[in-house]
């Protein structure tokens, strides 16, 4: 059974058709690369899965069950987490505080509840260890490398026991060494049985880490196939329209 299934999803903004009858499936523990030129509908698709937009037509299924979101929080309750391009971290707080932001564990009873810092540090240290990242819970995010910041953002999704992680251009603005770190993080998520949708412009990254590639062109899905049966040349052709479908 597929973890995430979109069936005939369309989205229009007034007269503009941003997505046209897109059907796609992602299996548990599968990494899907979502590619396409600017304006091809990648962001719209991600925002629909993340609960920011409601589809004009079509249905979303998670673990075979039809879901309907009204707000992003509904999507999060269904196990969908988004790692944003700008990472949405607070530079002035520690790694542990960022992992637990908005979900801080507390001790004592209202109104005298205090934050359980030891538990936060212990739990985030465990999550970083699972991700094999050298990030330390007490470090300020401001002093971290791009790869460590990604680890913090990704640890947040592990904390919530997400089923599906959407990553929007996680390797866009970081160094080569850090890209390798991030790709490792994605593999760790996959090994834990999470499904990952990776939006990226970087062909090498997609081919390095993804099991399946989906290509959008002008709002329509033109390909969804295993990476092993495709090639960067084919994908480039699909993105630009030199190849019609595959």
């Amino acid at each position: 059974m597929s973890r995430l299934k979109l069936s005939g999803v369309s989205k229009s903004f007034g007269a503009i058709r941003a997505l046209e009858n897109v059907s796609i499936e992602v299996a548990p523990g599968e990494v899907m690369g979502l590619m396409g030129d600017n304006g091809a509908g990648k962001s719209t698709l991600v925002k629909i899965v993340a609960g920011n937009f409601r589809p004009t037509q079509g249905d979303i299924f998670i673990d075979g069950r039809k879901v309907e979101y009204h707000r992003p929080i509904d999507a999060r309750r269904e196990g969908v987490e988004v790692v944003y391009q700008d990472l949405a971290l607070c530079d002035n707080l520690t790694a542990a505080s960022n992992v637990f932001l908005g979900r801080e564990p507390t001790l004592g009873r209202a109104p005298f509840r205090i934050i359980d810092y030891p538990q936060m540090r212990r739990r985030s240290a465990e999550l970083f260890a699972q991700l094999k990242s050298e990030t330390r819970p007490r470090d300020l995010v401001r002093r971290m490398s791009g790869g460590q910041r990604q680890a913090v953002a990704i640890a947040r999704t592990l904390l919530s026991d997400a089923k599906i992680v959407l990553m929007d251009e996680p390797t866009a603005a970081i160094s080569v060494r850090q890209v390798a770190e991030v790709l490792d993080l994605i593999r760790r998520l996959r090994d834990r049985g999470l499904s990952v949708i990776l939006i990226s412009h970087r062909m090498p990254d997609v081919f390095a880490v993804c099991d399946r590639i989906a290509v959008l062109r002008r709002g329509s899905l033109v390909a969804s196939k295993p990476v092993s049966q495709s090639s960067p040349e084919e994908v480039t052709g699909l993105i630009t329209g030199a190849i019609e479908t595959a």
Binding site: L101, I114, R136
Partner: protein
């Protein structure tokens, strides 16, 4: 040769003294102590009991509001209306008390007026989305004007049946320490604990650090902002009541341009005007330094007209130091 890991490890786990030295409040405290020592030797008046009593009381007023201001600044905002909130609360309590009401009921009404100012500030900033600078600047004018309307711009110096109680609370002392100092101590401890140990405190720093991130994680940013401005107004309200009792008379120029001294105290104490940083201890120490310098100008016979120059320069210098530190750390 040490590996990079070890170096990082060392920089993380230095002793408490070197940690303290990295902390802006520590250096400000050193400066304040040095200034006190210098004044003790340079003037006869500084170390006199009378003068120290005055300094500690004046400093308490600025420090109490600086705590509220630090919270606002840490959340990424600014509150220019605190000086006017001081006069408004002082006027509400004095008008009510001179009209025959008791102290406690009048004090509650005055605090309610202050909280209302904060609520209005917060709603306009958080829900209507207006810049804090503009909203609180407008409130600076509006709240003082309201105080004038309330009192018909007359001085009030008779506070009805509880007259003596008000004067004792604001101007009296217990165990040799002026009462505003007790209020400051209580507030500082409570605020310090709340900022460090509650989710509210953590979220204040989160929205100051990256408001969008805070929103995305589901923190109730708007409600939190309203509460932040209400807290700042509350500290101004407490000060207004204490000042009414200290002065024994209330006029409509009370607390005029106090917001600048308060902002200076917070910023000198390490609050970052860009948001996300600030400590209660820093605010208190910053207020101490400002009051000691202000007092020294008077004792050294320098014209009071220079005070604004010093406070203004302090704000600019403190922000400049912050810039330099940022530039160095980004290298």
């Amino acid at each position: 040769m040490t590996s990079i890991e070890e170096v990082i490890g060392q920089s993380q786990h230095r002793g408490s003294l070197s940690r303290a030295m990295n902390f802006q409040a520590f250096w400000v405290l050193v400066a304040a102590i040095l200034a006190c020592l210098a004044l003790t030797f340079l003037t006869d008046a500084f170390a006199s009991e009378r003068n120290l009593f005055n300094v500690s009381r004046n400093f308490a007023f600025v420090a109490i509001i600086a705590i509220g201001m630090t919270v606002v600044i840490a959340s990424g905002g600014i509150d220019l209306s605190v000086g006017s909130t001081v006069v408004l609360t002082a006027m509400v309590i004095s008008v009510l008390m001179s009209g025959g009401s008791g102290f406690w009921i009048s004090a509650l009404a005055a605090l309610a007026a202050a909280l209302l100012v904060g609520l209005l500030n917060g709603i306009l900033i958080a829900y209507v989305g207006m810049p804090p600078f503009v909203v609180t600047l407008g409130m600076l004018s509006a709240a003082r004007s309201l105080a004038m309307v309330l009192s018909n711009n007359k001085m009030i110096w008779e506070f009805g049946p509880d007259h003596d109680l008000l004067l004792w609370i604001g101007g009296g002392s217990t165990l040799g320490l002026p009462h505003p100092l007790y209020a400051l101590l209580t507030l500082a401890i409570i605020a310090g604990l709340i900022l460090r140990w509650t989710r509210w405190g953590q979220h204040v720093f989160a929205i100051g650090g990256n408001e969008q991130a805070a929103t995305l994680t589901g923190i109730p940013v708007k409600r939190l902002k309203v509460s932040v401005y209400m807290f700042s107004a509350f500290t101004a309200g407490v000060t207004g009541i204490l000042m009414a009792g200290w002065l024994g008379s209330v006029t409509t120029n009370l607390g005029q341009s106090m917001e600048l001294a308060v902002i200076a105290a917070a910023v000198i104490g390490g609050a970052n005007l860009a948001g996300g940083e600030g400590t209660v201890l820093g605010a208190v120490v910053g207020a101490l330094l400002i009051e000691v310098i202000r007092n020294s100008l008077i004792l050294l016979g320098i014209s009071a007209f220079w005070q604004g120059m010093f406070i203004g320069s302090f704000i600019i210098i403190a922000v400049a130091f912050d810039r330099i530190r940022k530039l160095r750390s980004s290298d």
